[in-house]
Each structure stands twice: as structure tokens, then as C-alpha cells.
């Protein structure tokens, strides 16, 4: 799992914000935009924290359980998978095609200390909920260190 995440680290855009800001430009000015060729789309996320937890909600409706993967590494979490197309209507003629299909991947930064081994996940009504336990004492608040004075 960790190794997989490392691969993506090497690939290109290191930070989640890079991609997001580029999306913004793209929608405004239609400047050519970059996405790795094995990724088609990036699901939308809500990221927030409570007193105890760091919570991510990923909008990935209509996804089979075998088609989604979750990786975590220090500093970020990666959701990747495939949304398969609905092949129901044989002869169709498109007016709009806005829903994203195909392979997706989303790397989300975790700016605070969390317990990587204490993750709760739940997939319900198209939302994937990821809850991480915050490590408040160890990283979130400062520790006072006593200095020994020699006389």
C-alpha cells in the first residue's frame, strides 16, 4: 500500500492544491490542463475536523466495492478506483455528458497529526466517509522541555 502511494508521489503533481487550482483556471480560460493519462477524473471531497477526529468525505456515487482502493501515508491519503459506465441504453444520443466515469484518483493532504492505524471507513449513499483519530498531544500541542542549568 505504502509503495503504491510512493509511485504516485514520483509521478508529477506533488500537492493536491496544484491540481485544484489548475482546475479553476481550466474552467475559466480553457488553458490546456494536465491529468495523468491513466486518470480521468477527480472526485469532490469535503475535509474537516472535529475535536477528536480528522474527517474526509469523498463523493463517489455508484461505485462497486471491488473498484475502489484507499492508501494512507504520512501527510496524505489517496483514494483511487474506477466508476464503470452504465451500458443500459444501446442507441443513445448525447446532449450533455457531465458525469465522470472511468479511473479516478484523489490525493488529499492531511496537515495535522493523525493516528494512521486508527481509521474508520464507511460507504453509504454514494459517499465514502473516512475518519482519522487526531493525535493531539504528540503533535498538535507543544510540549514544554525543561533545560538543565549547570552552575
Amino acid at each position: 500500500m505504502a509503495k503504491k502511494a510512493d509511485d504516485h508521489d514520483d509521478f508529477m503533481l506533488n500537492r493536491d492544491e496544484d491540481i485544484r487550482s489548475m482546475f479553476k483556471i481550466f474552467s475559466k480560460s480553457h488553458h490546456p490542463f494536465l491529468l495523468p493519462s491513466d486518470t480521468r477524473w477527480m472526485p469532490a471531497v469535503d475535509v474537516f475536523e472535529t475535536d477528536e477526529e480528522f474527517i474526509l468525505i469523498v463523493d463517489i456515487a455508484s461505485i462497486d466495492s471491488k473498484d475502489v482502493e484507499l492508501f494512507i501515508k504520512k501527510g496524505y491519503i489517496i483514494v483511487k478506483g474506477i466508476r464503470r459506465e452504465i451500458k443500459k441504453f444501446k442507441k443513445r444520443h448525447y446532449h450533455k455528458m457531465e458525469i465522470d466515469y472511468g479511473p479516478f484518483e484523489r490525493k488529499i493532504d492531511i496537515p495535522i497529526a493523525v493516528d494512521e492505524y486508527n481509521i474508520k471507513t464507511q460507504y453509504k449513499d454514494g459517499f465514502l466517509e473516512i475518519r482519522l483519530k487526531k493525535i493531539v498531544d504528540r503533535r498538535g500541542s507543544k510540549r514544554i522541555i525543561n533545560i538543565k542549568w549547570e552552575e
Binding site: 508529477m12 489548475m22 483556471i25 490542463f33 475502489v68
Partner: protein, 785 residues
């Protein structure tokens, strides 16, 4: 780590539909919007969405947007997937596509309704090396420069670029984000070797940086220039403000105070004053550097320099005026009388509307110089314009001020030049005004010449009415009929007939000879002309109504005499009748009256030309032939018809005239009017032709010293004709004693000076028979026949 997610459906198929892009290239990993307009392309996209969503994207070789010959596409392209699709109200669609891999066409397998081709995927050749890393850094650095220079690339793109590690993707991404030629983009697409691809991109980027640097240099140069002029403007405004503070209210007002004074001095009428003051107000507000400023200055300059109130005082001393007129011109009694009458009225009544005189007469009779004498007699300024060949209405009334370089018309220009508002204004050659698409100057003259209207003459440029009613307008013309009737109607026509020989002798003695002597540097005691010599010059060397050629011939003599004096001659040179030939060569014209005899078939007629009257001989002969009737001598239709009428009348009266009728069957008749080169027309030679024919057919000779003019009808009546005055003068000049004229023309003789009529016999006639009784000699046969 096991591969949990399978992606079999996203591998690139071997057969793929081809979408041809206009003037752009899609590279792998790039997401790009693209508008699809062609119906077949829309179908292609829709079909691909239902299928695998995969398409092959290729570029068109031809850059022009319209009329794409679709076969000309590059063989390298990109496999792409359609991510999104929107329909646009005009029926076209907009798609967002993502490039996947480089591909090459093996062969096209389908053309309609859209192209499909068999393709294969090309993989990049990539071996990591130092070389590549250096190139990569270099490219990022150059791209940074480009983003700094070019306003079109958002900073986020640069940030993204810095974070790309893969050199292949870096090259493709930068290539997609800067301006470059289709061919350059295609080269990057085609290049599979990463190192080479980076090299190509480096060159392109280097060029782009240079172009942008140059562009920004030009930009800054322009903006500094602009700043400079802006700075000047601000400084000038500041200076103005400072001066105002100091109370030195402005240097630009030198011109303005000057105008203020000039406006006061010009004593303009109320209307003009209002306009001038308004213009001055405007001038104060205009920046002196503005183009408008000089236009306003020019206009004001015109306004203040027109002689609104300046006029010369008329000297109404009638005796003095008569003396001056007599001094300058010999004869012309009628005209002098008219001018003296005008003066007399002027003396009795202070204000008088200026009459408009029009002198009509042949060239060289002194129309223009008469105008000058009138001005002298009245103590007024004399100005003249020649209207000959003027076609543009603006010449009279000026151009509107909106035109660049606009000026007032010639009327006001000359008035300004004269400096007074009551000059004698001569409009020369008023009969030669032209007319074309630029308007009709003669119509513009109507306003100028109407005494009721010209007190408010309005020039297009000046726009304020100017009073022309004090101007004494004198027009001149050679002929009356080309003058448009409305214009003619406004003028008082005074005819100047040609001079007769006696007059010419007097004119030569009094004016021409003294002037030529002076002009050729001689003294009056060097040369003298005997009267008979002058007569010879007039009769043998000139034939004209005026005196120009006489003066020229006298000038020739004086020149030759002057040469004699210059080469040492001392004694006075006397020009006698005999010595004229020595100076002027043999005679140019023959006064052949004396040599002529009474002949059969030769009748003397009188003709009118714009240059005065002429003597005309009509000759006719008869020869064996067959009823032919020939007319030669450049005759017009009217003249030919009147000749036929004359012949028909004679034939109808053949018994009374004792003409053998058989003669018409057996002979041809030929009538000729010399000189053959001059075109002639008009009915006034009717009785002359009839007389010539009657003489020919009855074999009675015609008296050679009797001239005639008159129109003939088919029934032998004689109708009145025009130009009697000139014709009489011509007859007198030619030494003819008797003239046959239509009875109805007798009243015209009243207008001819007594001196000319003296010694002439006039025979008024009503019918052609009377003419024949007068002109044909009974009994004698002609020796020629």
C-alpha cells in the same frame, strides 16, 4: 501489492475514428476543450461515446479555417478520450478531451460518414541521462521567463510546470501552453525520442523569449513616447495655472488680443460681429497645438480682413470722367454715355444699387480695358477674375469650413485683395463658364449679380452675409447666346461692334503706335508712321473686328526698327505704304473688291462669326450631267436646305425667268462656298445662294459691289436675319457700297453708329424678285462662259 482495480476497457483499440482538429494539436496527458461544428464530426463524437469513448485526434495540414480538404492530415496524432460534452444552442457541441498516447495511422479503413483508421501506439524512447536533466531545467527556466513576459499565461501553470518531474510530460504540457506554430507543435508530437523532443522545445522556447522581449521593448518605447506627450500637456496646463496666479494672463493671448483689436477695427455688421466673437471665445479655449486652432485662426483672419466698412469715395465729376474715358478709348460712344448716365444718377441720389453691365463683343475691341477706365473715372479700385473654364461652384462661393484647406470663393478673395467694398469688379469671359458634376458656377453667379440679393451674399466659408451691393460688376463676353438666360436677364447688355477701318487708323495712331514705340525701347522721334501705311497694315495684314493683330504688326515693325537703331542707325525711320512690305513681308490678305468684276454665278454675301462679320462669296457652276445638285464648303444642314429651297423656287419660276426647262434634265449644278475649311451654317445666305443660282441659269452677271443677306422661303419671300450690325461693319470694311437687307431688318440699322452707315446704300427687300432686279445685270453675257 496485488492489482485490485482492472482497467481493460481503457486500453487503446487498433481501430479508431479520426477527429481532425483545426490548427491545433492535442498531446498526451493534456485536457483541452474543443468545439465541434461539422455534422459528421458530431456524429463521430456521439458514436464514440456510446462505444469506447476513444478517438484519434489528428491535425489538419492546412491552417485556413474555411474549406478544409480533409485528406491532408498529419499521420501522427494522439489517441484521446472524450471526458465531457455540452451542446451549444447553435447546434454545435463542445467537448473536453484528454490525450492518452501518441499514435500513427497505418491505413484509413473508412471514409464515410467519418474516417476510421487502423493505428498503432507509439511509445516514448526514454533513457534517463544528465543531458535530459539539464535540458529539462533549462526549459523550466525559459518557460518562467516567458510567463513573466507574456500576460496570457496564468502563474498556476508555471507552478504546475515546476512540479512536473517527467520530462516527456513536461515537454507536452509546455508545448500546449505557449503560442507556437502548428508545424512546431506537430514536430514535438512526432518526436518519440525524449532528448530530441526537449531539444526541439528548447529552440522554440528560445525564439519565443526573443520575440516577447522585442515586443515588450516596443511596448515600453511606445508607452514612454506617450508619457512624454502627456507630460508636456500637464506641464503646459501647470504653466497656464501658474501664469494665471501671477496675473500674467497668458502668452497665447498675444494672438487673441490681436484679434480682439482687429475685430473692433473691422467694424463688422452685427451678424458678423456675433460670429467673430463666438469664434474668438472658442479660440481661447482651444489648445494652440490642436489642428483646430489653426482652422479657427484662419477663419477669424478672413473675417477681420474683409472690407466690411472700407470703401473708396466716388468722385462724381462727370466732365472729368468723360475726359478719362475719351482719353483711354476711341469711339464707343454708347458705352461711355451709359457710364456717364450712371455717374449722373449717382450724383443726384446718394445710394444706388450697382448696375451690372455686360460688354459683348469680339476679341480685342477693348472690353477689359474699358473696365479699367471706368474704375479710373470713378476713382474706384479695379479687380477682375476670369471665369473662362471655371467648372466648380466652389470657385465662386468657396468651400465649407469643414474641408481641409478650405478658402472663400474668388469673389470674396478678390474683394479682400481690393480692400474696399465698392470696387469695379470685372467678370471676364462670362460666356465661357463650364458646368460639371461639381456644380454650376453660373447659378452661383446669379446670387452675386442680382442687385436685390447681393447685399446679403453668403460665402460657404465665411458663412456670414457680405454686402456686395456697392460693387460695380462688369461682365464681358464674346457671345451672348452661351450665357444662361437667367444670368443674361440680370445684366444690362452693351454690344461693342467691331471697329471699322477709319476707327482702327485712329486707334493705331493714338494708342497702339505710341505704346509699341515705348515697349520696344524707341523714342517718338525715332520712327513715324504715315497714315497710308497704317491703312495698308489694316487692310492687307489683318482681318479682325478688334485691334490686337494690328498692334502685333505694328510691334513687329517697331522691333525691326529698334534693331536698326541698336546697330548704329541714326536717322528717323519713316514707315510708308511701300516700306510696310519690307518689314512685314508680302500681304497676308487681299482686299479683292477692286479686282473683282461682274460675273455670272458669283454672289457676295455677308456672314456673322463670333469674331465679327465676314464677307462671303457664293460660287456656282453648271456642267453636263444628270439632274445632280452638289453643295460643298463645309455647309451645315440649315444652309443646305435653304440652298435646295432656293433651287426649287427658281425651277418653279423657270418660265418667268426665261430658263429653258430642259437644262435641268441635262446638267449638274454645283454650289461652293469658300473658304472650304471653315464650317458654315444658318439660313442667312438664302438669298445669296438664290441670286447665284438665278444668275447661273439666266446667264445674267451679278453686280460685284452689292452684298446681301436674308433668309429665303420656298415661295420666294425674304425673311429677316440676325447679326446685321456686324455684317454691315464687315461690308464697310470690305469697301462695299450697297447692301441688300430684309425689310424687317431695317430697324436694326438704328443701332449702328452714324459713321458706319454713312456712304452706304441699303436696299430693303421683301421678295427674292426684288433682289434679282437689284443685283442681276441684264443683257450682258459673261466672258468666262
Amino acid at each position: 501489492m496485488e492489482e485490485k482495480v482492472e482497467k481493460p476497457s481503457y486500453s487503446i483499440p487498433n481501430e479508431i475514428p479520426l477527429l481532425v482538429l483545426d490548427n491545433t494539436v492535442l498531446l498526451p496527458n493534456i485536457i483541452m476543450p474543443y468545439p465541434v461544428k461539422d455534422v459528421r464530426d458530431i456524429q463521430l463524437i456521439n458514436d464514440s461515446l456510446v462505444d469506447s469513448k476513444m478517438i484519434g485526434v489528428f491535425s489538419n495540414r492546412i491552417i485556413e479555417k474555411d474549406e478544409i480538404p480533409k485528406d491532408e492530415i498529419f499521420e501522427y496524432g494522439t489517441a484521446a478520450v472524450v471526458l465531457k460534452l455540452f451542446k451549444i444552442p447553435d447546434g454545435s457541441i463542445r467537448i473536453i478531451i484528454q490525450g492518452l498516447k501518441r499514435i500513427k495511422i497505418n491505413r484509413v479503413i473508412q471514409d464515410e460518414p467519418y474516417r476510421r483508421a487502423e493505428i498503432h501506439v507509439i511509445e516514448d524512447e526514454y533513457k534517463p541521462s544528465m543531458q535530459i536533466e539539464v535540458l529539462q531545467r533549462n526549459i523550466v527556466e525559459t518557460f518562467r521567463k516567458i510567463t513573466e513576459l507574456s500576460p496570457n499565461i496564468p502563474e498556476e501553470i508555471l507552478t504546475a510546470t515546476i512540479n512536473i518531474n517527467d520530462p516527456a510530460i513536461l515537454a507536452d504540457f509546455i508545448c500546449s501552453n505557449i503560442e507556437m506554430d502548428l508545424a512546431d507543435r506537430q514536430n514535438i508530437l512526432k518526436e518519440v525520442n525524449i532528448e530530441n523532443r526537449l531539444k526541439i522545445l528548447t529552440t522554440i522556447l528560445g525564439r519565443e523569449v526573443k520575440m516577447l522581449e522585442l515586443g515588450s521593448k516596443i511596448q515600453t518605447k511606445i508607452s514612454t513616447e506617450f508619457d512624454k506627450s502627456q507630460r508636456k500637456y500637464f506641464l503646459r496646463e501647470q504653466l497656464k495655472a501658474i501664469k494665471k496666479e501671477l496675473g500674467e494672463d497668458e502668452e497665447l493671448s498675444v494672438e487673441i488680443t490681436e484679434f480682439t483689436n482687429k475685430i473692433k477695427k473691422a467694424k463688422m455688421p452685427k451678424e458678423a460681429l456675433a460670429v467673430a466673437e463666438k469664434e474668438l471665445d472658442r479660440l481661447k479655449r482651444i489648445n494652440p497645438a490642436a489642428a483646430e486652432y489653426s482652422v479657427a485662426v484662419n477663419y477669424l483672419d478672413w473675417l477681420v480682413s474683409l472690407p466690411w466698412k472700407v470703401s473708396t469715395k466716388d468722385r462724381v465729376d462727370i466732365n472729368r470722367a468723360k475726359k478719362i474715358l475719351d482719353e483711354d478709348h476711341y469711339g464707343l460712344v454708347d458705352i461711355k454715355d451709359r457710364i456717364l448716365e450712371f455717374l449722373a444718377i449717382r450724383k443726384l441720389k446718394k445710394s444706388i444699387k450697382g448696375p451690372i453691365l455686360c460688354f459683348v463683343g469680339p476679341p480685342g475691341v477693348g472690353k477689359t480695358s474699358l473696365g479699367q477706365s471706368i474704375a479710373r473715372a470713378l476713382c474706384r479700385k479695379f479687380i477682375r477674375i476670369s471665369l473662362g473654364g471655371i467648372r466648380d461652384e466652389a470657385e465662386i462661393r468657396g468651400h465649407r469650413r469643414t474641408y481641409v484647406g478650405a478658402l472663400p470663393g474668388r469673389i470674396l478673395q478678390r474683394i479682400k485683395q481690393a480692400g474696399t467694398n465698392n470696387p469695379v469688379f470685372m467678370l471676364d469671359e462670362v460666356d465661357k463658364i463650364g458646368m460639371d458634376f461639381r456644380g454650376d458656377p453660373s447659378s452661383a453667379l446669379l446670387e452675386v449679380l442680382d442687385p436685390e440679393q447681393n447685399s446679403t451674399f453668403s460665402d460657404h466659408y465665411v458663412e456670414v452675409p457680405f454686402d456686395l451691393s456697392n460693387v460695380l460688376f462688369i461682365a464681358t463676353a464674346n457671345e451672348l447666346y452661351p450665357i444662361p438666360p437667367p444670368l443674361r436677364d440680370r445684366m444690362e447688355i452693351i454690344q461693342l461692334p467691331g471697329y471699322i477701318n477709319e476707327d482702327k487708323v485712329k486707334i493705331a495712331e493714338r494708342y497702339l503706335i505710341p505704346r509699341q514705340i515705348k515697349e520696344n525701347g524707341l523714342k517718338p522721334e525715332n520712327i513715324s508712321f504715315v497714315t497710308t501705311a497704317i491703312e495698308k497694315i489694316i487692310t492687307d495684314y489683318t482681318r479682325e473686328a478688334g485691334v490686337r493683330n494690328i498692334e502685333r504688326e505694328i510691334g513687329t515693325i517697331c522691333r525691326k526698327v529698334a534693331r536698326k537703331f541698336a546697330t548704329g542707325h541714326k536717322k528717323i525711320v519713316k514707315i510708308t505704304k511701300n516700306s510696310v512690305e519690307k518689314y512685314l513681308g508680302s500681304a497676308k490678305f487681299y482686299s479683292d473688291m477692286g479686282k473683282r468684276e461682274n460675273e455670272v454665278g458669283i454672289a457676295t454675301g455677308l456672314a456673322w462669326t463670333p469674331f465679327g462679320g465676314e464677307i462671303l462669296y457664293i460660287e456656282s457652276v453648271m456642267m453636263r450631267g444628270n439632274k445632280g445638285f452638289t453643295l460643298t464648303g463645309q455647309l451645315g444642314d440649315v444652309m443646305k436646305e435653304s440652298a435646295r429651297a432656293a433651287l426649287s423656287y427658281i425651277r418653279s419660276k423657270s418660265e418667268e425667268l426665261k430658263i429653258d426647262n430642259r437644262i435641268f434634265e441635262k446638267s449638274d449644278i454645283h454650289v461652293h462656298v469658300p473658304a472650304g475649311a471653315t464650317p458654315k451654317d444658318g439660313p442667312s445666305a438664302g438669298i445669296t445662294i438664290a441670286t447665284s443660282l438665278a444668275s447661273l441659269l439666266t446667264k445674267k452677271p451679278i453686280k460685284h459691289d452689292i452684298a446681301m443677306t436674308g433668309e429665303i422661303t420656298l415661295r420666294g419671300k425674304v425673311m429677316p436675319v440676325g447679326g446685321i450690325r456686324e455684317k454691315v461693319v464687315a461690308a464697310k470694311r470690305a469697301g462695299i457700297k450697297s447692301i441688300i437687307i430684309p425689310k424687317k431688318n431695317m430697324s436694326d440699322l438704328e443701332n449702328i453708329p452714324e459713321k458706319i452707315i454713312k456712304n452706304l446704300h441699303f436696299y430693303p427687300v421683301e421678295a427674292i424678285d426684288e433682289v434679282w432686279n437689284l443685283a442681276l445685270i441684264d443683257g450682258k453675257t459673261n466672258k468666262v462662259q
